[in-house]
Symmetry: D3
């Protein structure tokens, strides 16, 4: 099974925020943004695995900078690490002004699972990180996976070696 | 400032899933569910604080049981703990059958911040947990807050006393 | 066939009105409200009958108090009376302020019919009203049913005994 | 103030029903149809009064013939009678086949109120019915108005002369 | 196969522009208008051919007069000429004021193809233009068809006799 | 005023087609695709001009290859030529399979006008084409502009020198 680079999994959407997308405070409705992010993450997962993928979990969704009607928003999804049949995917959201200056607004981390024809999990290619940021996210992905297993009671904290290193 | 019980902050939506809400696998589109959850969490936040509230972060969104077109879905949002101006809110999602048997499908944990007229954070009432589950979520909320601060690099792991106890 | 209480048939949706839901006067678009009401009434009908139900008629939809973007709106649907295979369902709509003061805004009366697997009407349980309001609505339901049959030319006015009593 | 004929108030929408508009039974969602009807009735009210109009009540919404995805549906709204500042409007809904045969599917009766610049009710022109059906609906409109006042407790049954005649 | 007059193919939609339909400049979003036009043109094509029809191309979409929230907009679609299995359809868009004065806002020319049960193109009736405008559009339709074939490289300019006459 | 390359004006959206986006033939609704294209073209226009831009016209919209629910669709918009205050923009649409093989499905040519603060047309930078395709589209843009002026009766065919060359 051929490995894929993180770069090969990038999926992009640039959108113009419409009044239709806003909440009563006239900023982008968070739920609408989540819907866009989830759609885009599923495309990145497809590009890595060549399979239909379903959302398993979402974490670390941050809302740092409000987005308003008329803003030009770019979402970029990229696989950060592949496990056996699941992938961790970062979605980064930013706005740009008339001079193409970029302001980072949001981030979220999705986990998707690739399914075969019978909707059972299926093995997927390894992911190869190349840039500094890709490598950093690749390395920390294991820590997040352990954290999620510990919090769900499916791994003993004492076995979460990656996670423990945080507190040493 | 009067304290509020968790029960007073409950917000509910029961929905019939329409074809309009589904993805190409004919299950409920995860992004649509996120949009419903975010709207409902903001109502729970309003009921606790009496203020307009904005989403600060979302975590632990799990997708355990697929939901299909025609399902009757109930979302319940409830504040689990109030901090200075922010609240942690659980949204639980379940489906029911013709005999009112309930299957838990999803869960998510939102953090909202209450804003004053100038869109600055403002102090909110304390939350009083009453049931066993409310108390359990209240207690673990502090651990999640520390975890989020540590992961964001805004708290030293050594200061995250609640979190460390997990690994001892 | 087990009887059901009115209380068991309650279905609730609390919503935050978005710009997306408004008409050009910047109040909640009546057609959008009708769509929410119809969805919720079908859930109440399902909870009473355990069957897929379809809308047969809608009456007495009143618009008393305008609702604006940013309002927190609660819809409550409850079966008022069950006939052979049809149910009458009230949907009450109200808004709440920061102190949880409630203002009644709208009301509508739906009739749904329960269908079997072949999409034919099927017998449903009786409804037991308990509160004063439930009993009042239960009693007047027969009058409304007769009125609807008379207006449709399917009952002679002289046979509409409940209705005639109004004019004596 | 110039009178208007019923014909001058006609507003029409022909629509192709999309999967997007259906419920889980794969027929047109009743709430979506109500939204279309309400929008169209407001246009008919505008054409009669030349004013912004708001929905006051809806009655007699009947669902006689199911509509499916791919159907070509025509809605026609027409003012049936004008009172001081309010209008009664019929909306008739039908589908057509490839030979332009028409099947009546739904009907609803709306009451709209015309507003001035300060959102206060304002006097509107009289309506002149011309065809047999227009005259029949014009005549029965008074009976419906009395019925609605009686049911709302704002008119004594003994004063509802038009309505009483039904039961003599 | 019976011929049809242009008049028999007319399809109409009058709409009230909602905030939901606007772009950040608070005028009707062009893409939303295109969606309405495409739906309506497909209905006109169905009325001419009695067949399911699919969009083949769109041209000459002009945006001459901005439309705002609260405007009453009428779209009218009418077949301008029928070829073997394809039809050219004009969609004209206008707004009206309180005195029913009409302002033309947009125009577009669609080509639809009629399909049989196997989704293959099928022969359709001839179109008979009657009014001056219908005849003018009928005549120029051939020129537009040649232009489209020339631009697509599927007809030699020297064979486009109708088109050449423009430049003589 | 700095020139811009065509590459700098690229805007991209990759989308997963949902049941919500389909017509009754279960393919992507053409009107929905037009809405996506128009939004994306406006972003490309903004990236070239740094200004709010409005749609002036749309042409050459072709529907060559049907798109179905579940398809992964990529839209790419790019300015092909800048005139005084208007830009011509190509939007190309394609689908990809699991091996990233691309099938071209649709194309459309938009003209947008850049507006200043008073909503008046304002001068924009020149566009520099670099690739073969960019140069070909740049050259043919003038011919399309003349064609549009001739068809609108705002240029004499004898003055449309670029256009005439087609027929020599």
């Amino acid at each position: 099974m051929t490995k894929k680079t993180a770069k090969e999994t990038i999926a992009i959407q640039t959108k113009l925020v419409m009044p239709n997308d806003t909440n009563p405070m006239e900023t982008l409705f968070g739920g609408q943004l989540m819907a866009w992010m989830d759609e885009l993450a599923s495309i990145s997962a497809f590009r890595h695995s060549g399979r239909i993928c379903v959302t398993a979990s979402i974490n670390n969704v941050s809302f740092d900078h409000p987005i308003i009607s008329g803003d030009f928003v770019t979402l970029e999804a990229k696989v950060s690490r592949a496990f056996k049949s699941s992938m961790e995917i970062f979605v980064d959201v930013s706005v740009e002004d008339a001079d193409r200056n970029i302001t980072k607004c949001n981030e979220a981390i999705f986990v998707f699972v690739a399914l075969d024809e019978n909707k059972k999990p299926i093995q997927i290619p390894e992911l190869v990180p190349e840039t500094e940021l890709e490598k950093k996210r690749y390395d920390s992905a294991l820590r997040r996976k352990q954290l999620s297993l510990v919090l769900a009671g499916r791994m003993k904290p004492s076995e979460a070696t990656e996670l423990q290193s945080l507190f040493e």
